[in-house]
């Protein structure tokens, strides 16, 4: 056991840190700076990060889930308004089904509550759909693709949703996907959303901590008061625990059998989901009145967290997964 990042993994993370910090939105106004988002998109496209889970000749991915989550965490930290989770989930689905990689940018459509992959003939939601021309969903165990229409006003200001209507024209991709493969895909999706949440928590905690160091009330920085210090300390601690659980979930994706990877990821997700909402709410609280205005980035973190929490289920469904696994396990 050695949970430290390898030299290559540290280099990848450092690259992601630099790229995100040079192009991330630093204010709510920045979110509508089309020139910046275009440069961010071009920079991410040139890294090949969205192809990390494409299959090589043997069907194994180019990179492990650990590399993928290192990128996802930095994108979450920086509120990067660029597609990553969606295309990466699509690539993983194709790889697990043994289908060749998509020719153009593609994402996945989820059930309207985002808890699982969408079904043809039912309404669904294409997630993280910036720049995507199509999304994948399931029709009787087969992978199908639908073209995407207009971007909806999103909950998440950094990753747009696209509604996929019930009667969308589903084009067969020509491969079925097994239950076992879907289990692995779900474990991967959970690990990926955990990483995004850890990044969001890190970013939101930093935002609020920086503010607490400069905002003065009663003649002193609010960060000098224990009441505020303890809120921020709890946020930091929740982020650290989440980080440990999320790293293990990512490692488990490629290292453990599907059902064990799923339970590891479900436990991590329950933990990260509860923590992330608390941390983002804390960031709003520490900002006081400003934190409740549109122009403060705190709600952008919260909104992004709410989507990542819902993807593959938040606290409740994942506690159920953990319980089902452990109660079955302790009976045998």
């Amino acid at each position: 056991m050695d949970v430290r990042l390898s030299t290559e993994q540290r280099a990848l993370r450092d690259t992601a840190v630099d790229l995100v910090d040079s192009l991330r939105p630093r204010s709510v106004i920045d979110l509508s700076d089309a020139e910046r988002t275009a440069r961010l998109e071009a920079a991410v496209a040139s890294t090949g990060w969205r192809q990390l889970r494409d299959a090589d000749e043997d069907g194994t991915p180019y990179a492990s889930a650990v590399e993928v989550v290192l990128v996802a965490e930095e994108l979450g930290r920086g509120l990067a308004d660029v597609a990553f989770i969606g295309p990466t989930l699509a690539a993983e689905l194709r790889r697990l089904a043994g289908v060749t990689a998509a020719a153009s940018t593609e994402t996945v459509a989820m059930k309207p509550d985002l808890s699982d992959i969408g079904l043809a003939g039912q309404p669904s939601t294409a997630v993280d759909a910036a720049g995507a021309s199509s999304s994948m969903l399931l029709a009787a165990g087969e992978l199908v693709a639908v073209s995407l229409g207009v971007t909806a006003e999103p909950l998440d200001l950094t990753r747009p949703h696209v509604a996929v209507p019930r009667d969308a024209n589903a084009m067969p991709i020509g491969h079925s996907i097994s239950t076992g493969a879907l289990t692995k895909w779900t474990a991967f999706g959970l690990a990926l959303t955990c990483a995004d949440l850890v990044g969001v928590m890190r970013g939101a905690t930093t935002l609020a901590t920086d503010y607490a160091k400069v905002r003065k009330q009663y003649g002193a920085e609010i960060g000098s008061y224990q009441a505020v210090q303890h809120l921020l300390a709890d946020a930091f601690v929740a982020m650290e625990g989440s980080h440990s659980a999320a790293l293990h979930a990512a490692w488990a994706v490629d290292a453990l059998p599907g059902d064990e990877a799923l339970v590891a990821a479900a436990g991590a997700k329950a933990y990260c989901a509860r923590a992330a909402r608390m941390v983002c709410e804390t960031a709003i609280q520490v900002h006081g009145g400003i934190g409740n205005t549109w122009e403060c980035l705190a709600h952008v973190y919260l909104r992004r967290a709410l989507v990542s929490i819902d993807l593959f289920g938040g606290v409740g469904p994942n506690l159920d997964r953990v319980l089902a696994h452990n109660l079955a396990g302790s009976r045998s």
């Binding site: 056991m1 949970v3 430290r4 300390a233 601690v237 625990g241 980080h243």
Partner: protein
């Protein structure tokens, strides 16, 4: 990055698992029964003699010089076997290793590591809890000895201890942090009176107070230099905050496993609230295992001590109290078997011992987040 076993680690795990089949003493949980404390010395010695204790400590003091991550394997297997956790005294060893002279390390540490010498830690006093530097116990030089007078309280393991690591004031004329020195003091002498304290869950053999009335200890048993006591104390409490040092992951996972087995046996007896409490305890104890793996891996780079210990302590506390709540919920407060009630009540101490959660939050805020103090 790898959470899995290397071949050497897998072999060690298999050896430990086989050993536990014949050597699990089946003691009750440390937090619920005096029987555990009565059997703890024998368990410590058995673990040590089997080659499963003190793994990451230097060979000169009886350790095996293995990477720290081996402790995770020990905790895993103890929990799986339902065996008692490993004794929690790594923080004492670290304090003496870091601050003791070569002579002190060589004389004192092997007996602690092999479990033949029992130690307690005389830090807190009635008027010096969180504000430890205000302690009033004094040590006065008298020839080749120091003479110790004072009152220590909330002292874990004092009733079984042969020795006490005492913090005492040796210089009243310097700022309070600088006038403290650390000593090893024999508990078996006329000037020392040990009184058990009954904890809120009724156990009497873990917690005590110790009165020193002109107790004597050789000057050679001062640990560190005169005035180094505060720094030693910070090293000790720093490590006392690390779940990897304490081995508590095994304790939590053992309890959670027992609770899950209870619910599995008669699932219809447990409602959604109880299942949810159990699910959180499962999630939290698993998180702590992964967190300890991460922290102990960081130590492979030589990173240890530091304010991150406060993060670990807060996480560990959250887990212990979540497990306590699951025990209360699944076990029931008014059940005829009060094991679970005792376990829950014991869990309240975790946010106080080794530095309260409020002190830990102050440290995280000022020393990690850089907020003004």
């Amino acid at each position: 990055m790898n959470f899995g076993d290397s071949p050497a680690e897998a072999a060690f795990r298999a050896r430990l698992r086989a050993w536990l089949e014949d050597n699990n003493p089946g003691l009750p949980a440390s937090s619920t029964s005096d029987e555990y404390w009565a059997g703890q010395a024998a368990w410590h010695q058995a673990l040590y003699d089997g080659g499963f204790f003190g793994l990451s400590w230097p060979q000169e003091i009886g350790g095996q010089g293995l990477p720290t991550v081996y402790e995770v394997i020990v905790d895993d297997e103890l929990a799986k076997a339902g065996a008692p956790p490993r004794p929690s005294l790594g923080y004492l060893v670290q304090g003496i290793l870091h601050h003791g002279s070569e002579d002190v390390r060589a004389r004192l540490l092997p007996g602690i590591v092999n479990g033949r010498d029992r130690w307690c830690q005389g830090f807190s006093e009635p008027e010096a809890g969180s504000d430890l530097a205000s302690l009033r116990t004094t040590a006065v030089r008298d020839g080749e000895d120091y003479v110790i007078t004072g009152h220590k309280v909330w002292t874990s393991y004092s009733d079984a201890a042969d020795w006490c690591l005492v913090l005492a004031r040796t210089d009243a004329d310097v700022p309070k942090h600088k006038g403290i020195s650390a000593f090893r003091v024999s508990m078996r002498q006329p000037g020392v009176v040990q009184k058990p304290l009954k904890m809120i869950n009724g156990i009497t053999r873990e917690f005590g107070e110790v009165l020193f009335d002109r107790a004597r200890t050789p000057a050679a048993d001062m640990i560190g230099e005169p005035g180094e006591g505060w720094r030693l104390a910070m090293t000790v409490v720093g490590h006392e905050r690390e779940p990897g040092e304490l081995g508590y992951v095994a304790r939590y996972r053992k309890v959670v496993k027992e609770l899950a087995a209870r619910v599995s046996e008669s699932p219809d007896d447990y409602g959604p609230e109880q299942r949810r409490d159990l699910a959180w305890a499962l999630v939290e104890s698993e998180m702590l295992r992964q967190h300890v793996s991460r922290r102990l891996s960081d130590r492979l780079d030589g990173n240890s001590g530091g304010p991150e210990g406060s993060v670990d302590k807060l996480l560990m506390t959250q887990v212990e109290q979540s497990v306590g709540h699951a025990a209360l919920s699944v076990g029931g407060a008014s059940s005829s078997d009060d094991t679970w009630l005792k376990l829950y009540l014991y869990s309240r101490a975790q946010s106080v011992m080794g530095g309260t959660s409020q002190i830990q939050r102050n440290l995280v805020a000022t020393r990690i987040l850089g907020l003004p103090s």
